[in-house]
């Protein structure tokens, strides 16, 4: 019987088999951000040192202000960045800080810098770390205690999860994006569908995707409950990685390539679970509720709690509609929005900005619309091809790189009751600000909502 890619990568990182079925795994790459500082503080307090500062890389993303011109934040928010700056300097960790064009969202800059490579075990104190699985890496989010453990030992205790293969075959229709694919997957398996599993995304629709698209899909694995999601590396992957600043070069490249080509799951590998979707069935999708599983094609109507038999599900649906301020049965395209947010580790890469700009071009935003590039380099590349001018001419705000309104930790939040067409990853209650209402969608759909002021089927614009 063959071996899955997940099992191959796992096996390559076993340091020791521990008690009770736990395995001590070696971490090749540890990415840090402001949320990791508490672990650095505890580590220093216990008198321990970072074991491998050379394998750790840090950036500021969650707490950096993204308003044009990168203004200085207030003292409390500013201290989050200052503290990370000080602790990484003390420990000798490379830090992409304010003023460095390489600074950006941790899940954008890892791949961009070639820090994310196939076959790696990569961790970060952030649940969207599965993004890096798009390269055929075993990448997952960890808590603050685990961050401290990795800093001190470069290892983690883990119990091997089960494997789930999600196969999407066929061709995506025009107007259907990677975001629609992952929203459709989450709606199919549910927000808890991947709990305890590592997901491998496979099939011709995934193979046909660019790296940016694969990252969008892997990014939201956690929204399906899975800590990690991955795609087998192939020529698309190698072409993306080649020549990146921290990627192997010369002889090291040839050697690495040999290993990477051996990583894909064997044809006869068995997965614990299999789920299949037909790409042709996937339409531009939006969420209507307060869980990412609450997603429907834009052509549908707001669901009716009265039509749900299960009382728990019915109550939860009614609560979601009350929070979202939506009435059952209303066509989704009748729902008015107050803002648009284009950004986040899910959808802030150059391809995403191009897709949004293609819709914005020659039109005019009728609600406040923010475009927040994923990194300083994404911003620079977008400006080089004139995307900033398209957005500005259409009345969108062109901002600095960061997490911004996906999570609002830096104070960039929507007001209570405001409805946001957002390319981010979570529509939880209060996620984009206390009382704010989030509808998740692709960059093209968010741009379409910005120019019409309603949830809009981008295919009919």
């Amino acid at each position: 019987m063959g071996t899955t890619m997940f099992e191959k990568i796992w096996a390559r990182h076993v340091v020791a088999e521990g008690p009770g079925g736990q395995t001590l795994l070696y971490v090749d790459r540890h990415l840090l951000h402001e949320g990791s500082t508490a672990a650095l503080v505890r580590l220093a307090g216990s008198g321990r040192r970072v074991r491998r500062p050379d394998l750790s890389f840090a950036t500021a993303d969650h707490y950096v202000l993204t308003s044009p011109g990168a203004p200085a934040p207030d003292a409390e928010i500013g201290s989050m960045v200052a503290s990370l700056t000080a602790h990484t300097a003390q420990q000798g960790i490379v830090f992409f800080g304010r003023g460095d064009v390489r600074r950006g969202i941790v899940h954008v800059i890892g791949p961009e810098q070639g820090l994310t490579l196939p076959g790696m075990l990569l961790v970060c104190g952030d649940s969207h770390t599965a993004t890096h699985g798009a390269f055929g890496a075993l990448a997952f989010g960890i808590g603050s205690s685990e961050v401290e453990h990795v800093l001190a030992t470069q290892t983690l205790w883990q119990r091997k999860p089960k494997t789930l293969r999600v196969t999407v075959d066929g061709r995506l229709a025009a107007g259907v994006a990677a975001k629609d694919v992952i929203l459709a997957i989450i709606a199919t398996i549910g927000a808890a569908g991947g709990v305890g599993h590592a997901i491998e995304y496979a099939g011709s629709a995934i193979r046909a995707m660019s790296m940016a698209e694969r990252m969008t899909v892997c990014n939201m694995s956690i929204e399906a409950g899975a800590r990690c999601g991955m795609v087998a590396p192939d020529e698309t992957t190698f072409a993306y990685v080649r020549g990146r600043p921290f990627a192997p070069a010369g002889d090291a490249w040839a050697q690495a390539l040999g290993l990477w080509q051996s990583l894909p799951s064997d044809p006869d590998a068995l997965f614990d679970r299999e789920v299949r979707l037909d790409a042709a069935d996937i339409a531009p999708t939006v969420t209507w509720g307060t869980s990412p599983q609450d997603a429907l094609p834009i052509t549908e109507r707001v669901p009716d709690p009265a039509a749900v038999a299960d009382p728990v599900r019915r109550a939860s649906l009614a609560r979601a509609l009350a929070y979202m301020g939506l009435a059952a049965g209303v066509p989704l395209t009748d729902v008015k929005v107050d803002r648009a947010f284009i950004g986040s580790c899910t959808n802030s890469r150059l391809d995403d900005l191009r897709a949004a700009a293609a819709v914005a071009k020659g039109r005019r935003a009728v609600v406040p619309a923010w475009v927040v590039p994923g990194s300083g380099l994404v911003k620079q590349a977008a400006e080089a091809e004139g995307l900033d001018r398209i957005f500005l001419a259409a009345g969108f705000e062109w901002r600095e790189a960061g997490c911004s309104m996906c999570v609002g930790m830096n104070g960039e939040t929507a007001r209570a009751g405001e409805r946001v067409a957002s390319t981010s990853n979570r529509n939880f209650e209060g996620r984009q600000g206390k009382g704010a209402r989030t509808h998740l969608m692709s960059p093209a759909m968010a741009a379409a909502a910005a120019v019409t002021g309603r949830l809009t089927d981008v295919r009919r614009l």
Partner: protein, 196 residues
């Protein structure tokens, strides 16, 4: 870490499935260091308190019978979403030592054990039954015994749960996991030598 052996305490039902860690502790509180004053009030803050700080009477932990609960009986996928360990810190600051659910968010699940919180997974029908019993008799206590891996319901029924022996040992002893791993230094160094 405070060791865990057994507890008998008031248990509160959380009926909503997919309770995310943004709900357990909203993002704006993540700037506050763990253990800073009033940390227990961050727990479920926006569904627990009005804007003026007054309690929302409809929230379960504001019900006189459930106030100060040290055990939560939750629904599917409790603790999903963000990896923020502050969700567990806020639960601990409130006094919660056990979370019982049919399933938990994977990262939250892991974070519980790092902070001496016992996460108990029981079948969905058992958990639904426990929540029903707590609703029927608010203020009832549950007993959770780590050594025998059992939950004793208000009416006396005993439910055994599975637990990773490693996690169990770490909870019982309250041992520092990093210190334990540093005991594997030889293996770690050997692994690094092979990589080089």
């Amino acid at each position: 870490m405070e060791p865990f052996t057994r507890i008998t305490a008031i248990a509160a039902p959380i009926d909503l499935p997919n309770v995310d860690t943004d709900r357990i502790v909203p993002a704006r509180f993540l700037r506050k260091p763990q253990g800073s004053p009033g940390y227990d009030r961050f727990l479920f803050h926006d569904v627990r308190f009005e804007a003026d700080g007054a309690e929302k009477p409809e929230f379960v932990l504001n019900h006189p019978s459930f106030r100060g609960a040290r055990i939560l009986v939750a629904a599917d996928n409790f603790g999903c979403g963000s990896s923020r360990e502050a969700a567990v810190w806020a639960l601990a600051a409130y006094g919660v030592r056990v979370v019982i659910a049919p399933s938990l968010g994977d990262i939250f699940h892991q974070n519980c054990f790092k902070n001496g919180l016992l996460a108990v997974i029981l079948p969905g029908d058992v958990v639904t039954g426990l929540r029903g019993a707590l609703h029927a008799r608010p203020g009832s206590t549950l007993s959770v015994d780590l050594d025998s891996q059992t939950v004793t319901a208000p009416e006396g029924a005993v439910h055994r749960f599975e637990l990773d022996p490693f996690r169990k040992q770490m909870l019982l002893s309250g041992q520092d996991e990093i210190a334990l791993t540093l005991g594997y230094e030889a293996q770690i160094a050997e692994f690094e030598a092979r990589q080089a």
